[in-house]
Structures are given as C-alpha cells and as structure tokens.
C-alpha cells in the first residue's frame, strides 16, 4: 500500500486551496470598497465563499471514474433543464435564465459549464487520441446544442463560456491543426452571409458590441468610466477605499462585472500584477494536475476546466479595460454573486478529485 499523506486521504490539494483562499480574500477586500463599505454584504459574500469551498471539498471526494460514468446523464439532464428554462423559466434581469424550484433558484446554464467538458472528456477518453473525424463531428453537435439553447435565453456571456469549455477539450484532445485552422477560416468567411440576413437594428447592436465607444450614450459609457477609473489608479493605486466612487456611481455593475476597474483604481499596476500572479498560480496548478492525471479522462477534463477558468478571467479583464466586447462575464471569486462561484468551486473540486483519486500502482 502506498503511504498517503493526510491531504491525499482527505482528497484535498493544498496549493490549489491556498490559491483559491487568497483569491477569495482579495475578493472580499475589493468588494467592501466597491459595495459601498456595506459590511453585511461582505458577511453574505463570505458565507457564500465558505459554503462554496466546503462544496468543493465534498465534490473532491467523488472519484473521477464515477463522474465519467455519470457524465452522459448529467449532460442530458442539463439539456432538459435548459429547454425547460426556455419554455417556462422565471425572468430575471430581462432574460430567461433561472428555474425556480421553490426552495432554490438556479441557472441550468451553469450546470452545462461542467456537464459539457465532462461529457466530452469521457467521450474522447473512450477511444484513441487524436479523435476520429466522426467523433469530432459528434462532439461538435454536443457543443452546439447547449450553446444555442443558452444563447437563445439570451445569455451571450455564458454561451461563450460553455463554447469555450467544449472547444478547449477538443483542442487538448489533439484535433489536428489543419482542422482547427480550416474551421476558423470557414467561420470567418461565413460571417458576411450571416450579416446579410440580420435586421438593421440587430446589426446596430452587433456594431455597438464590437466598438462600444461608438455608442457613448449606451454601453460605451461604461467603458469610458472604466478606463478613467483604471488609468487614474497609476502605479500604486489610490489606496483601498480611496477610489473615486463618483465615476463608478453610474456603473451599476461596479460590484459585479466591472469590479476589476475598482481594483485597478485602488491598487494600481502593482496590485494588478499581484492579482494576475495569483490567477496564474492557480492556472499553473490546474495544468500540472492535469498533466499528472492518471488517465486520459482526467487529463482532458482537468485541462478543460482550467482553460475555462482562464477564459473567465481573460474575458472579464479584457472587457473592463476596453479591449473586448461587453459580454457580461464575472471575474472569478472577486465579482459579487454566487452562482458562477459555486460552479467554479465545483470545478476545482473535480480537479482535486482528479489529482487525489489515484489507482494503486498494482492495478
């Protein structure tokens, strides 16, 4: 019998936990400032974080093999729930995303962020790699259906994340470069056709999305405010709680999507470097776990989940600094809110499970 450390027996990965707890701490600190120094808000968010961390540890107890077996059912359940949402979901914030089950409200699209990579990882691990064209085709369908269902809600941000989760598995599984480039070129070429079929006001909305500063009275305003806040932070920031709230008073999303702007303003470039390092640390740990996983399923799923995490961070930061379109993606563990945090923590729980559920060498 191998000698297992305490952390392994408890199925926990210390580095990952340290990174995540650090991130949560930073999140609470920034949120206090962005949330108008509302201590009750911090308590609530802290509770959510604690619960999420607990959930993560619980999920880590589940062996990846079991997850692999359940992946198809979870995926199908996710699809059913997505259809249910479209048909009868509760309307919150102008889009149909929530299902109210009486005692709990939850977003099926969040479930998909986990279910899709799990399904794809299981699907590819089943056979040899790189996957055959047939498999790739089926995988594409498995990605497209939920993405379309989510985009129809409409929830552009989440559909992008789900698509990213799926595509990253495809990438890691070794789909040939020729195919990747070929597909990208076809997608690029077919955009003019799509453009032709759009109504004028839809075209206007797309243009505004791509260049928000062309709509200074609408979403462009957020970007302008955001950049002022960031730029004025300078090298060392204005200091905690010293951000000029007057700019961001007009940003209703200052404690959620645009919280990074508050962070930059108060902690400056130095703060940003530190934050980026923490994120990098977590991502590197995720990739390491995936590299050292015992089987293909673990490797694929681990990388997929890590890549998804990266996409969250990259898209949110990119949007806040005015480089990417405004698509409503929160900054992991910093932005206020609970649903994506739960999903992320479950993902990390799965990562820890992948790392710690090793079969004995004698197998």
């Amino acid at each position: 019998m191998e000698d297992r450390s305490l952390s392994q027996r408890l199925h926990l990965d210390i580095p990952l936990i340290i990174g995540l707890v650090l991130l949560c701490a930073v999140g609470l600190v920034v949120l206090y400032s962005a949330g108008g120094q509302d201590i009750a808000l911090i308590y609530r968010q802290g509770m959510r974080m604690g619960l999420a961390l607990l959930l993560m540890c619980l999920i880590a107890q589940i062996s990846p093999a079991r997850l692999a077996r359940l992946s198809l059912w979870i995926y199908l359940l996710g699809l059913c729930l997505l259809v249910l949402v479209l048909v009868s979901g509760e309307i919150g914030k102008g889009a149909q995303r929530w299902l109210n089950l009486g005692f709990i409200r939850f977003q099926p699209s969040e479930l998909m962020k986990l279910a899709l990579p799990m399904l794809l990882a299981w699907f590819f691990a089943d056979n040899h790699l790189p996957p055959s064209p047939g498999r790739i085709f089926y995988a594409t369908i498995m990605i497209v259906i939920p993405v379309l269902l989510i985009a129809k809600q409409p929830d552009l941000g989440t559909s992008i994340l789900v698509a990213a989760a799926g595509l990253s598995i495809l990438f890691v599984a070794g789909v040939s470069w020729k195919l990747i480039i070929g597909f990208s070129v076809t997608a690029a070429l077919s955009t003019p056709v799509l453009w032709y079929f759009m109504h004028d006001y839809q075209k206007q909305r797309v243009l505004t999305l791509l260049d928000p500063e062309k709509d200074p009275l609408g979403s462009g305003y957020h970007i302008i405010q955001s950049k002022i806040a960031i730029g004025s932070g300078g090298l060392y920031g204005k200091g905690w709680l010293n951000g000029t709230q007057s700019h961001l008073e007009f940003l209703p999303e200052r404690s959620t999507d645009f919280i990074f702007a508050v962070f930059c303003e108060e902690f400056g470039l130095m703060g940003v470097l530190l934050l980026v390092c923490i994120y990098m640390f977590i991502i590197v740990r995720g990739l390491t776990i995936s590299l050292n996983a015992q089987n293909t399923f673990g490797r694929l799923l681990g990388t997929g989940l890590t890549l998804t995490f990266f996409v969250y961070v990259f898209v949110n930061m990119g949007m806040v600094i005015g480089q990417l379109p405004v698509v409503g993606v929160p900054l992991p563990l910093i932005s206020h809110g609970g649903t994506s945090m739960l999903t992320l923590m479950i993902a990390f729980g799965i990562l820890m499970a992948i790392h710690t559920h090793r079969r004995l060498l004698s197998d």
Binding site: Y201, G233, G234, L287, T296, L300
Partner: protein, 616 residues
Amino acid sequence: MPAEFHLKDAGYEYLVISRRIYFAGMMMFLLGMLIVIRVFFLQVVMHDHFTTLSQHNRVKIQPIAPIRGLIFSSDGVLLANNRPSFSLEIVPEQIKKMDQTISDLATLITIEAKDIERFKKQIKKKHRFVSVPLKFNLSDDEVAKLSVNRHRYPGVEVVAGLNRFYPLAENLAHVSGYVGVINEEELVTLDTSNYKGTTHIGKLGAEQAYESLLHGKVGHRQVEVNATGRIIRVLDRTAPVSGSDIFLTLDVSLQNLSVDALGDKRGSIVALDPNDGSVLAMVSTPGYDPNPFVNGIDSKSYKKLLASKDAPLLNRALQGKYPAGSTIKPFLGLGALDFGLRNIHDETWCQGWYSLSGSTHRYRDWKKEGHGHTNMINAIAQSCDVYFYSLAHEMGIDKLHEFLDKFGFGKKTGIDIIGEVAGLNPSREWKRKAYGQAWFPGETLIVGIGQGSSLITPIHLAVATAAIANKGKMVRPHLFAYARDAISEEVSKLHEPSAIGTVEIQNIEYWQQIIDSMTEVTHGARGTARRVGSGASYRMAGKTGTAQVIAIAQDEEYEVDEVAEELRDHALFIAFAPVESPKIAVAIIVENGGSGSSTAAPIARRLFDHYLQGEG
C-alpha cells in the same frame, strides 16, 4: 501483444495531450501578458490624462437631440413647425426619494397624473443618468417658479427644447399626422442609439411615413460636471444632424377650399394630379386638432373624439368604405365595350324597372317613368339604372369582377402614408368564403349599379378616375414631393415608379367613348350634372353617384326630407378636367348628402375653378 499495444497507445496519447497542454499554457501566459501590458498603458502611459479626468469631477455624456425637419406643402405653406418650449426633466440617479420630489414639485406647478404615469414607465427603460421628461410645454410662469427653486432640487432641470406644432390643425390633420411620445412597442424596433434624447416620433400621416428623413441624427457631448450637476466644461462634442425638410404635393389653398366646401357635413374629397399621382388635396371631415396629441391628449378629450358619432379620427379618404353607386357606371360601360358585349350606340329600352326572366321582382330605376331608348352615352349621362342592370346581367359577375379588378378595386392603392384599407370587389369566391353561399344573379344587377356588397375608398375612386383621364395609366398616389437636406440644401426625391399598372383594353378608342359619355354628364343637355358644367371655361368629365344607405322596398317612395339624416343616401361625384389634357381628378363623397348631382357635383366645379383658374 495486447498489453504492449495498450502501453504504446497510452504513451502516444499522453504525448498528444501534454503537447497541447504546454501549448495552451504558453498561450494563456501570452494573453495574460497582453492584459498586463494594456493595463500598464492605461495606468502609466496615460496616467496623467485619466487623473485629470478623475479629479473631483464627473464625466457625463449627454445626447443632443437633432432638430426635426419641417413639413411644407407644394405652395410653400408650413404644415408642421417646431416651436420653442420648456420641459421639466429629472435625472433619476440623482434623486433619492422620487415620490417625495414629485409631490414637492407639484406644489410649484401643476403635474397631471398622466404625466407621472408616463414618467414612471420611462424611468424603468432608460439609463439612470439620462434625464427623463416629466412635463412638457411649461408656461413662462412655471419656468420662473422652477428656476427660482432650482437649488432645492438637484437632478431636476428645466430644459429648453422644441415642441412640434401644426398651424393648420384640423384641415391638415389626416395629411400631416402628428408626432407623439415614443412608446414601448416602438422602442423595440427603434434604432435606440440614434433616438437617445429624442422624446417624440411620428405616429400617423406624413410625420410617420417620413420619420427617417425628418428625424436626422443624434449628436452627443462629453461634459464635466461638478457635484451639484452644473456643467464645468464641454470636453468633446459631436453635432447632431438636423432632419431634412420635406415638401408635400399638397396644394393648401385647394385643401382649405375642400374643407370649406364640405362644411359641417361628414365626407371626403381626394384630388389628384392624374399625370403622376401627386395628391393635391386629401380631406376627411370632420377633422380633429392634432396638436393635443403631441404631448399626450387628456383622456376626457380623447374619449370625446372617440365617442363622437361623426368619427373625426377616421381618415375617410383612406379608410372610409362606401358603395360606389352610379360612379361605377363608366367603368362597367368600358368593360362591356371591351368584352364586345355592346357598342356605344346600342340601345336598350328603359321603362323604369327591370326583371330577370322567370322572376317578378322588379329592380327599380331612380326615374320611375324610365329613360326610354337609351344608348351607353345617354345611360352614363343620365345615369340610367336599367341600362346597367341589363349590362351587368349580360356580363355576369365573373367578367364584372375581372374587369373591375384591372382597376385594382378590392385592393389598396399603395399611397405613401399608413392607414389605407382595401375596398371590396365582390366575386363568387368571396361570397363563398364570407357567407358560405353561392352567388345569385340578382346580386350581379345590384353590383352593376354600384350597390350591394361592393365597397370603395375615396382614394381608390380618385385613382380609378385618374385612370380614365389617363386612358389606362393607374398612377400611384403619393403625398411626398421632395426632401431638402438641412445642411446641403440638396433636394432629393424618392425613386418610386409613378404608375402602379396599366389597364389594358382591346381598343383604345373605347377610352375616348367613355370620356365623351362622362363629358355629356356635365355638359350635355340632359346630363345629371349639367348645372355644374354650364358656364365653365374649360370642359370637364364626370359622373354623379347616389349610394343607398338603406334598402327601399319595391314600391316605396324615397323622400329625402322624411328620412333621418344618417339614413339618407351618400352623395358622390367623380370628375376630371380639362378633358383634353387633364390636370386634376377628384373623387367627392358627402355622407348622407342625398343626391350626388345637387350636393357633391357643385363642389367639383368650385375646386376646378380654383385649381385651373385660380378663382375662389
């Protein structure tokens, strides 16, 4: 062997995956660096720029609404104008207790419930830092009171703007239409970025049809404001583009004359230029004053308009469906010629009534004694019903429907403002669909004199009349003449074809024969409108019509004075002049006016005298 194979496979798979993982890791690192570099750029390179902007001041972006284009008639009369006005606007973000603020303001000036209701609805839609109007058209008194108390209400502004005004009110209401406050349905398909800062949009008439020309493009400015909201300086400004002025084909003097001619009667007049379909006058009486609609008419007045049995909100020219009555006869006569059923000189015997073989039911002629031997010219000139009963019977409903269909009866003309409805050109299929019954021969006779289920709108009647004047060309009626760009003064017309079709017949001679018959109506010794044509210095062609509103039993007399007003026949008249090269074609309907020749026809003479000779 299998074990080896398995091992090699796993090794290869591991290689594939790990290569990809390394690649992904590298990409993520690079992208992360890109973010850091960009942040560096903002926070270090552009630091001073952004610091200046952040110091103690706020940057606000305000829309600058464009000035709406004006609407003119062809004779240069202003139909829609912008008048300076002040409105009370509130920036919701800056108000802590909205209800309290509103009731405080209500102690200074009157604020109506409907204003508050509309205001509350709009707050939900707009961004919180854009000001929302609470009340329009403040009086000078109100402006003064608000300005004096301004310091007590940060976030409450008196904003100078322009209010749309229609100087010709009732006479032009159906043509100009009006603008009104933008509502929720309109917001869905609106280009919201171009309409920021705009509160009103065209709802009916020319205002609606040419909204995109009239509106212009919104501008914006970036301003610095201090803590109390006062503007310190303007950082950046993009000027709005004013809307283009539009010129309509309407002749206002003719329009006013038409309204006057109809007096206090309900009715409609449409006058067109037969050459290209320009609408010279389009009247529906009684009209209504569109000005109260601009900022929201109060419900009491609105209910009054709705409840009035004269239906002032109905645009009779486009939406009034009437039996054509005898005005249909020239068209049917043409049909008979075209189908070869009769020629212009064939005579029929009119004894004052007509029966179908095998039936005792008598279809009466308006002249009890009958017209005697009647050919087509006389039948049109004197409006002989019996001639047309027999003509319709010979034609049969199918050919009749087919021929009238060439004139587009039962379809819309496609005039360039909204609200037009199609008339009804009855046929066998129509009756089967609508009533589940077969068509009876007796009904064909009734349709032959323009009664029964056939219905037409005044605009269509005018277009069909113009088609006779044109010997076949069906023009597209339009109110729009041209637009004039606000800055460049460049004139632009719309490129629409002026004709919607041609009525093709076998022999173009037939057109002239019908025109001659119609000229007999107004200039012949026994024409039903001979009094109208007498003494005119030009020749006109026309046809009177008297459309029944209620059915008269076989042997009853129809005494106009004894019948209640709303049950009296409608008076119709169609005409064009000068006959040799027509410049104007009209369709006139006076509801419950009694006889076409005594009530409707004289109006045409007044209109023609004015238009052709500048009189009256």
